[in-house]
């Protein structure tokens, strides 16, 4: 049997050799797009034909004395949801990067394709050590992308990014080693094991996952890394990379049913939702607004998933759905922030304004992403947030739902402040001239995600019915 899922995972990395050979920027972009779409097509074919597909690739390590490590890949609705989100953000950012990235385009494209492989690998790996390999390998291309194409403080922020996430991941490695020593190497074996202290091991996992997700108080690396990265990479970091934390939280921690831990993570999620929202409202740097907003929404997701683990079905579905909707909304939000930064030449929101007059497309996309983050119905983020709040009420955690409603209001406040200040109101500090509309590729990149936001917002029931409900 051909290992189809594995091939789809490594296909973009393999095709990156073609990117290296091709000299023209346009050809390289097309190759990158084709490789991503081909990989997605293969995985969707597997999903559509099989529903839940599992494939055994052989052994990573067969000869170890204590345990064998079988390599198992799988695709089910939830991983397919995440892969869809990744594909959407990637298509947008590849088109966007064509204008945005001017230097060393070949290395850039190769690195983002390597990053794609590691992201998809995280979503399809059932074997814990292999999951860890993809999880850690993710760090190498993303750190290099920040380091080579980032802003002024890139050196510091990329070191911070790497060290924080790697340090937390080492705790996860300890957890994986403990599990492996007890004969558990697959995610599906987690629920079977009862004779070891799961709470303790899952705490190790939780630290790693919450750090990746940027949950308060483990978020320290996030604002720097996300704001210093080049715009398309910020989109990936905020849209997909931190969602891997939420996805793994669902896969690993909810699988074991470590209930006491879920109370803690729910509270941390709430705190970071509040914290991120308030800081995003006070911030004047456009990219940092988006970064703090990520912390806030990550908190939302973790709260939802924790409530889901505590028994609320609605919250679980909402949390998972919000992974997708947040990915596309935040992806677009970062692209819009990057575009206005490019147009005005500054990140300070006080020196921006009235852009609506000259840049109608950008302002329209800005409006869609802001409204989506604010939780307006018919746009992507609404169903997920709504279901998380309903889930809180369902399990009689009224106070949690109340705080989440408050966070929703704060989100609306900072998202609208963002849009109004940049596109509607005149600038607070006088500027020389109003910039013109941005170029076609940037607009096309943003358009992909804007369409995705509207489609997801309208047809959310389809996604929930066909991707989530059968697998929960």
């Amino acid at each position: 049997m051909i290992p189809v899922i594995f091939l789809a995972t490594i296909l973009p990395s393999l095709l990156s050799i073609l990117v290296f050979i091709a000299r023209k920027r346009k050809t390289q972009t097309i190759i990158a797009l084709i490789s991503i779409l081909a990989s997605y097509t293969i995985i969707s074919a597997v999903y559509i034909t099989n529903g839940k597909a599992r494939e055994f690739l052989g052994y990573y390590s067969e000869k170890l004395t204590f345990y064998k490590i079988p390599i198992v890949d799988y695709v089910d609705g939830v991983s397919f949801l995440m892969i869809t989100a990744t594909m959407l953000v990637y298509v947008a950012i590849i088109i966007y990067s064509f204008s945005e990235i001017r230097e060393r385009y070949t290395s850039y494209t190769i690195l983002i394709l390597l990053l794609y492989t590691s992201l998809i690998g995280v979503f399809v790996s059932e074997t814990l050590p292999i999951f860890y390999i993809y999880w850690e390998f993710m760090l190498i291309p993303s750190t290099l992308l920040i380091l080579w194409w980032g802003g002024e403080k890139r050196y510091r922020s990329s070191i911070k990014f790497f060290l924080f996430t790697h340090a937390s991941s080492l705790l996860m490695l300890l957890g994986i080693a403990t599990l492996a020593a007890n004969g558990i190497v697959l995610v599906s074996q987690l629920s079977e094991c009862r004779d070891i202290n799961m709470l303790y091991i899952m705490s190790l996992f939780a630290i790693a996952l919450l750090t990746k997700q940027g949950i308060f108080p483990l978020h320290v690396w996030l604002p720097d890394a996300h704001s210093e990265a080049p715009t398309p990479i910020s989109s990936i970091l905020s849209g997909i990379l931190i969602e891997t934390g939420g996805y793994a939280f669902y896969r690993i921690i909810l699988e074991t049913g470590a209930l006491q831990l879920l109370y803690v993570t729910a509270i941390l999620g709430l705190l970071s939702a509040l914290y991120g929202g308030i800081l995003a409202f006070k911030e004047n740097d456009v990219k940092r607004i988006a970064a703090y907003s990520s912390i806030s929404h990550a908190g939302y997701i973790i709260t939802g998933l924790s409530l889901g683990g505590l028994g609320s079905f609605y919250a679980l579905v909402g949390g998972l759905f919000h992974l997708l909707s947040h990915a596309v909304s935040k992806g677009l939000f970062f692209l819009v922030s990057g575009t206005v930064y490019h147009l005005f030449g500054t990140k300070d929101i006080r020196k921006m304004g009235l852009l609506m007059k000259n840049a109608r497309y950008t302002s329209f996309f800005g409006l869609i992403s802001s409204l989506s983050l604010a939780g307006v119905p018919l746009l992507a983020c609404f169903p997920g947030e709504f279901m998380i709040i309903v889930g809180g009420v369902q399990r009689r955690y009224l106070e949690i739902s109340l705080i989440l409603v408050g966070v929703l209001i704060i989100s609306a406040a900072y998202a609208l402040r963002f849009w109004l200040k940049i596109f509607w109101h005149p600038p607070e500090i006088l500027i020389k001239a109003l910039p013109r509309e941005t170029d076609l590729y940037r607009i096309m990149g943003m358009a992909v995600l804007a369409v995705a936001i509207v489609v997801i917002g309208i047809f959310f029931t389809l996604i929930i019915d066909y991707l989530l409900i059968p697998f929960l």
């Binding site: 390590s61 000869k63 390998f137 190498i140 070191i159 060290l163 490695l173 300890l174 080693a177 020593a181």
Partner: protein
């Protein structure tokens, strides 16, 4: 195991090496020397195939040479990469004396590796003096040839050499006393643990465990990088494999308090090694401290393996070989970038990615492997050691090791980030040095993606 062939395999490097001492070096003869060494290694590999897979012939009543699967795998890696690192000595240094010493060192380490299992058996069961004395011969051969390798005209080099010789003298005497105590018939229960302690301490001194580590950073600074790369890879690795094999068998007779002391020394070794490496600006010294911290991990690993009664030290072998390949390769690249033998500092590496992309990428791969980032072999070594520690229920040791792994990541990152930043990069003196390093990089990636390759080499 055909012992005649093994004997030939052991003697052959010395036979090829000794004539080189008398020859004076001329620059044009590099190719000749290359052919000479290639011939030797081709012979060694053929002999190794016959020795491992041919018919069984023993010289004495009890086997004189014996290897386990893990040691067989190590032997293949040692022979293949030993050849690559000798190639580096010829390209970078070209000194006949150093090549001769390197070949002699290989002989010594072959003796040590082949006799490790019979040695352990002779101490515990049969009390045979011949079997016990052979490893000492191997050790002394290694010492003498190391002196040849470490010889340097610079002041710091001579100082380092003196420190090394003193340490080795003390350690040799410890080992000899340890072995002799095994042969005493007086109060065995009391003396056996002491004898083991002497033996383990003696070997620990030679692999640079704290507090016997003083010589290592100095040697690393004063000796030409190609020589130190070779001696780390061949000498250090074979010593550690020897230590791993006899420690597992002697674990039950040694006193618990001695194990506690060894754990404490290992912890000191990890902490002093990694934290000193983090604070270094000069890269060679950083690597020296990294070797010291590796000694700490290895002692912890050996103890874990002994607690679990693993007769075959796969984990330690895997760890030491992958880590030493990375460290040795880094030494080679640094050596080829140095101007007039002045060690490079961290800031000298700035802009290397732009100026020498291949060297910079190779350097990054080796540092990432050393730091244990997937998908390089260092990651698997790390997973291996942590899972053994977890299996022995020494959770706290696992945490401490994980913390120091993080420190290792920190200084590796410092180097990798320097490569990517702007600056005036040093020139690569000789592009030929990069060729063997490709093989080591590919080997590290292959082992990381498919660790079972190592077991396949061991014939399992």
């Amino acid at each position: 195991m055909n012992e005649w062939i093994v004997l030939l395999e052991i003697i052959l490097p010395v036979l090829f090496g000794v004539p080189l001492i008398t020859v004076r070096f001329r620059d044009k003869e590099k190719e000749k020397m290359m052919v000479y060494v290639t011939l030797l290694f081709a012979l060694l590999i053929v002999l190794n195939i016959f020795a491992c897979y041919g018919e069984q012939v023993t010289l004495l009543d009890h086997p004189l040479f014996e290897i386990s699967p893990s040691v067989r795998a190590a032997l293949w890696v040692l022979l293949l990469f030993g050849f690559l690192f000798i190639y580096e000595i010829i390209v970078c240094d070209g000194s006949y004396l150093r090549v001769a010493s390197a070949l002699t060192l290989l002989s010594g380490s072959l003796i040590l590796i082949y006799t490790s299992i019979p040695f352990t058996n002779s101490l515990l069961v049969k009390k045979s003096l011949v079997h016990s004395i052979l490893p000492i011969i191997g050790l002394e051969t290694m010492t003498i040839s190391s002196i040849g390798l470490y010889f340097s005209e610079k002041r710091i080099g001579i100082e380092a050499l003196v420190k090394y010789i003193l340490t080795v003298l003390v350690s040799s005497s410890f080992i000899v006393i340890g072995i002799l105590l095994f042969f005493t018939e007086y109060n065995t229960d009391f003396l056996m643990p002491i004898a083991t302690a002497f033996l383990v301490t003696g070997i620990s001194m030679e692999i640079g465990l704290v507090p016997f580590h003083m010589w290592l950073p100095d040697v690393s600074m004063g000796v030409p990088p190609s020589s130190i790369a070779y001696s780390v890879f061949v000498g250090d690795s074979s010593l550690i494999i020897f230590l791993a094999i006899f420690s597992v068998s002697l674990y039950n007779i040694v006193h618990t308090s001695f194990i506690a002391i060894m754990v404490i020394l290992a912890l000191f070794s990890m902490s002093i090694g990694e934290i000193s490496a983090l604070s270094q600006r000069v890269l060679r010294r950083m690597l020296g401290y990294s070797i010291i911290s590796d000694a700490g991990y290895i002692i912890v690993g050996v103890i874990a393996e002994s607690m679990l009664q693993m007769k075959d030290p796969w984990m330690v072998t895997f760890f030491v070989l992958t880590s030493n390949i990375a460290i040795s390769s880094i030494y080679i690249i640094l050596g080829s970038l140095e101007k007039d033998g002045i060690p490079l500092t961290l800031d000298n590496l700035k802009g290397l990615y732009m100026a020498q992309p291949i060297a910079a990428i190779l350097l990054s791969i080796f540092f990432l492997s050393m730091a244990g980032i997937p998908p390089f072999a260092g990651f698997y070594a790390k997973l291996y050691i942590l899972s053994y520690l977890m299996e022995t229920f020494e959770y706290w040791l696992g945490y401490v090791a994980a913390f120091f792994f993080l420190v290792c990541v920190a200084y590796s990152l410092l180097v990798i980030f320097r490569l990517a930043s702007q600056g005036e990069a040093p020139e690569l003196k000789n592009k030929d040095v990069l060729l063997p390093l490709f093989f080591s990089a590919i080997f590290l990636i292959l082992l990381g993606l498919w660790p079972d390759l190592f077991y396949v080499l061991g014939g399992i």
